[in-house]
C-alpha cells in the first residue's frame, strides 16, 4: 500500500524512513518523507494516481468504494492494500449492488479491474454496471428526488429545536464536482464505450477449473488456489508490485472484486456442513492480504456469512480482513411490514475498521445505520424511529418500539425525511 507523507506526523528525526537498500519500492505501507532519496518522481506520481486521495488522518492512499456515504463511514475511503469484506444480505440484492458500485467506480476512474466470480461471467457483470451521474446532470436530477429540500433546510438555523443542530449530519446529497466518489443511476446501464475503454480481467471459476495447477496441492480448495494464482499473475505481469523487471512501474490501482466467496460454487463446503474444511477460506484470505499489502491494489469481497454454519469461522474471517461491513435487508423478514422501518430498506453494520499505521482510527459515533436505495442514490442514515402519532397507542407497537430502542443511539436524527406532514 502506498502512503503519502503528511505534515502532522513529524515524530522521527530521521530523514528517510525508507528501509535501506530498497529500490523504488512504494508498495508496502511506507511513508515517504519529502527528503527521501531519489524518489521525488514516484512521490509525486503517487499523489497523482486518478481516483485516489490521501487520508487526512495518517496519509494512507484511499480509493472510493463507489458509494460516497460508505466512504464517509469508513474514514474517507478504502485504503489501498486492504480488504473490504461485505457480509451479504440474505438474498444478495444489496451486496451485489455494492459490488457493482465498486467496479463502476473503477471504470470511471480508469483503474484496472479484476472480477472474480463463480456464479456469473465477469463480462456479464460488467454489462450490468450502473451508469454514472455526471456533474452537470446532478442538480437537475436531485430536484425530482425531493432530497434538495433537505440540503437547503440544513443551512437554515433551527430556532425551536436548536439542540438538533449540533448533532452530526450524514451526507445525503452529492458534493458538487467530486472527483473522488461518484453517484450512479441504478436504472440505467453504464455506456458501452466506457466499458470497452477500460482494462479488466475476468476470472470465471467454471471455465478455469479444468486447467492444471502450477503449485502442488495444499489444504486450500482448488478454486481458491486458482484464484490466488490468477491474481498473483496479474499483479506480477502488470507491474502492480514493481517486482517484475520487464514491466514499467505501474501507476494505477488494481481493483479486485470477488463475489460470493465461500459459497459452495467455489468448491468450498463451508456453507454446507458444520465440519467443513475450515482452513481453506482463512488461508486464502491470509495469502490474499499478503498479496495486497505488497501491491497497489484494493479488494472488495462479498461473502454469504449467513450461510456459514460454523460461527467460529466468521470471527476468524473478520480478524483476517481489514474492513468488515454487514448488510441486513428487510426483504422477507418481519421488519418489512413493520411501520417503524418503512422508510428504509435495510440495516448496515460497520463491524470492523482497521487501525492502519496508527493507534487510533476514525470511528463514527453513530452505530445504528440504515440504508435506503432510491433510483439515483443509495443513502446511509442514522436509524431513527418515527414518532408514534396514533391516538390509541396499541400494544403491538409498544413491543416493537422496545426492541429497536435498545439499539438506538442517543437523540434523534436530524434528517427526518420522508414524512412531509412532520416537517416543522
Amino acid at each position: 500500500m502506498a502512503a503519502v507523507a503528511t505534515c502532522g506526523t513529524g515524530a522521527g528525526s530521521t530523514g528517510s524512513m525508507v528501509a535501506a537498500g530498497s529500490k523504488n519500492n512504494v508498495t508496502s505501507f511506507q511513508r515517504r518523507g519529502p527528503r527521501a532519496s531519489g524518489s521525488d518522481s514516484s512521490y509525486s506520481r503517487l499523489v497523482s494516481i486518478a481516483g485516489t486521495r490521501p487520508s487526512v488522518r495518517n496519509g494512507q492512499l484511499l480509493v472510493s468504494t463507489g458509494l460516497p456515504a460508505l466512504d464517509q463511514l469508513l474514514g474517507g475511503g478504502l485504503a489501498v492494500g486492504t480488504v473490504l469484506l461485505i457480509e451479504e444480505d440474505k438474498y444478495n440484492i444489496y451486496s451485489s449492488l455494492l459490488f457493482k458500485y465498486f467496479l463502476a467506480e473503477g471504470i470511471i476512474n480508469g483503474h484496472t479491474l479484476l472480477v472474480a466470480s463463480a456464479k456469473e461471467d465477469p463480462a456479464d457483470i460488467l454489462q450490468e454496471l450502473p451508469a454514472p451521474l455526471l456533474d452537470d446532470n446532478v442538480k437537475k436530477d436531485f430536484d425530482e428526488d425531493a432530497c434538495n429540500h433537505k440540503t437547503a433546510e440544513s443551512n437554515i438555523k433551527m430556532k425551536i429545536a436548536w439542540r438538533y443542530q449540533l448533532l452530526p449530519k450524514m451526507e445525503a446529497g452529492p458534493v458538487s464536482s467530486s472527483r473522488f466518489g461518484h453517484y450512479y443511476d441504478v436504472s440505467k446501464k453504464m455506456p458501452q464505450e466506457l466499458i470497452e475503454a477500460s482494462k479488466w480481467h475476468g476470472f470465471f471459476f467454471p471455465e478455469k477449473s479444468s486447467s492444471t495447477l502450477n503449485i502442488e496441492p495444499c489444504s486450500l480448495t482448488h478454486g481458491y488456489i486458482k484464484l490466488l494464482q490468477f491474481i498473483q499473475n496479474i499483479i506480477y505481469e502488470e507491474g502492480f508490485d514493481g517486482s517484475n523487471p520487464q514491466v514499467k512501474k505501474q501507476k494505477n490501482i488494481l481493483r479486485i472484486g470477488i463475489q460470493n466467496l465461500g459459497s459452495p460454487l467455489w468448491g468450498d463446503d463451508l456453507c454446507c456442513t458444520e465440519n467443513g474444511n475450515s482452513r481453506s477460506l482463512t488461508k486464502f484470505l491470509y495469502v490474499l492480504r499478503g498479496l495486497l499489502r505488497t501491491s497497489l491494489s484494493a479488494c472488495m469481497i462479498t461473502m454469504p456469512t449467513h450461510l456459514i454454519q460454523n460461527k467460529a469461522i466468521i470471527s476468524r474471517v473478520t480478524n483476517l480482513s481489514d474492513t468488515v461491513v454487514g448488510l441486513e435487508s428487510f426483504i422477507g423478514s418481519e421488519r418489512e411490514t413493520n411501520p417503524l422501518y418503512k422508510d428504509y430498506h435495510g440495516l448496515i453494520h460497520i463491524r470492523q475498521i482497521p487501525r492502519l499505521n496508527n493507534l487510533i482510527y476514525d470511528v463514527s459515533d453513530v452505530k445504528d445505520l440504515a440504508f435506503k436505495l432510491k433510483r439515483k442514490l443509495f443513502t446511509i442514515e442514522r436509524l431513527h424511529l418515527p414518532p408514534d402519532l396514533s391516538d390509541t397507542v396499541s400494544r403491538s407497537s409498544k413491543q416493537d418500539l422496545a426492541e429497536p430502542s435498545k439499539l438506538l443511539g442517543p437523540g434523534c436524527g436530524v434528517m427526518a425525511g420522508g414524512k412531509k406532514h412532520l416537517d416543522f
Binding site: 508496502s28 505501507f29 496441492p217 482452513r279 488461508k283 470471527s315 487501525r355 493507534l359
Partner: protein, 279 residues
C-alpha cells in the same frame, strides 16, 4: 511504551523482569496497542527482540513505533530487532517453491481432513518446528564475548492467526512450550504473545489455546470492550493479572482492572468510572 502502563505494571525499561511469559488477550476489542507497547518497551530496554508479526506489515509497526519513540528500521539495521513479516513471506512461500526450509512453510503443507489413520507425527505434518528453529536462531547469544543486548525477547502478533492457517491448537501450544524452554528458561528472556478471545462464539481450538497459555503465563493483560457498548471516551477495559505458575499457591494471584482511552501517541488509564469525560 506508555508510561502510564509502565506505572501500572510497576516496571521500567531499566529493571525489566526476566524469564517471564506475558499473555496479551483481547475480547471484543482490538488489543494491538499492547503489542506496540511491549515492542517499544523492550527496544528501549536494550533487549534483543525477535518479532514474529503475522498480522500487519513492517511499516505499520514502524510508523506507530516512531510515535512511541523507537525506530524499527534503525533497530533492525543494527541487529537489535529480528523481524519476520508474515504477510510478505507468505506470498513468497506460497507462490515460489523454496529449497531451504522457511519458517512459514506450513502454508504449503498438505493437510488432509483429520481422520483416524493420519497421525499427528507424520513427516510434513503440521507443526511449527521451522518457526521454532527460526526463533532459536534469531535469539542465539552472540559469541563475541561482550553482551551487547540485555536479554532476548520473543514477541508474537498473533497466535490466533496460526490457528486460521491450519495449525492445531496443540501444535501452537507445543511451539510456545519449546520457545519457553529456550528463551525463558535457558536464556533468561521473555515471551509476549497476543491471542484473540473469541468470546461467545464457540471457537474450541482458540479456547484450548487461550486456556493453555493462561495457565502457563506469569502476567496476563486482557483488553475487553465495555460491557455496556461503545463509548467515545472510554475505549475499553484492561484487566491485569499477576500469576505465579510455578510456585505453590501461597501467594494469591493478584489482579487489577482499569479503563483506558487510546490517543494518538499514548494511552491513558484510569480507574473504572473515573474517566475524565465523566468527572
Amino acid at each position: 511504551m506508555f508510561p502510564e502502563l509502565n506505572n501500572l505494571l510497576n516496571t521500567t525499561p531499566d529493571r525489566a523482569e526476566q524469564g517471564k511469559l506475558t499473555l496479551l488477550c483481547d475480547a471484543n476489542t482490538d488489543g494491538s496497542f499492547l503489542v506496540h507497547h511491549f515492542l517499544s518497551f523492550y527496544l528501549k530496554a536494550n533487549c534483543k527482540v525477535c518479532f514474529v508479526a503475522l498480522i500487519q506489515s513492517f511499516s505499520h509497526y514502524n510508523i506507530v513505533g516512531q510515535k512511541l519513540g523507537v525506530s524499527l528500521t534503525v533497530a533492525r539495521e543494527c541487529g537489535q530487532l529480528v523481524f519476520l513479516e508474515g504477510l510478505k513471506s507468505s506470498v513468497d512461500v506460497f507462490f515460489r517453491a523454496q529449497a531451504e526450509p522457511h519458517p512459514l512453510q506450513f502454508l504449503r503443507s498438505v493437510s488432509l481432513q483429520p481422520s483416524p489413520e493420519v497421525h499427528a507425527w507424520e513427516a510434513n505434518a503440521e507443526n511449527l518446528q521451522p518457526l521454532y528453529e527460526f526463533v532459536r536462531e534469531a535469539l542465539k547469544p552472540v559469541d563475541d564475548g561482550e553482551a551487547a543486548w540485555r536479554c532476548p525477547v520473543l514477541l508474537v502478533d498473533d497466535l490466533s492467526v496460526l490457528l486460521s492457517l491450519g495449525m492445531g491448537a496443540v501444535a501452537v501450544l507445543d511451539f510456545i512450550h519449546y520457545c519457553r524452554a529456550t528463551v525463558c528458561w535457558e536464556r533468561k528472556g521473555n515471551i509476549v504473545a497476543l491471542v484473540h478471545d473469541s468470546g461467545d462464539t464457540e471457537d474450541e481450538e482458540n479456547n484450548i489455546l487461550l486456556n493453555g497459555l493462561s495457565h502457563q503465563s506469569h502476567l496476563i493483560l486482557r483488553a475487553e470492550g465495555l460491557a455496556t457498548g461503545f463509548c467515545r471516551d472510554v475505549h475499553g477495559q484492561l484487566r491485569i493479572l499477576w500469576r505465579t505458575p510455578s510456585q505453590p499457591t501461597t501467594q494469591r494471584d493478584w489482579s487489577l482492572t482499569y479503563q483506558y482511552k487510546i490517543q494518538d501517541k499514548s494511552v491513558s488509564f484510569f480507574a473504572k468510572g473515573m474517566s475524565p469525560a465523566v468527572l
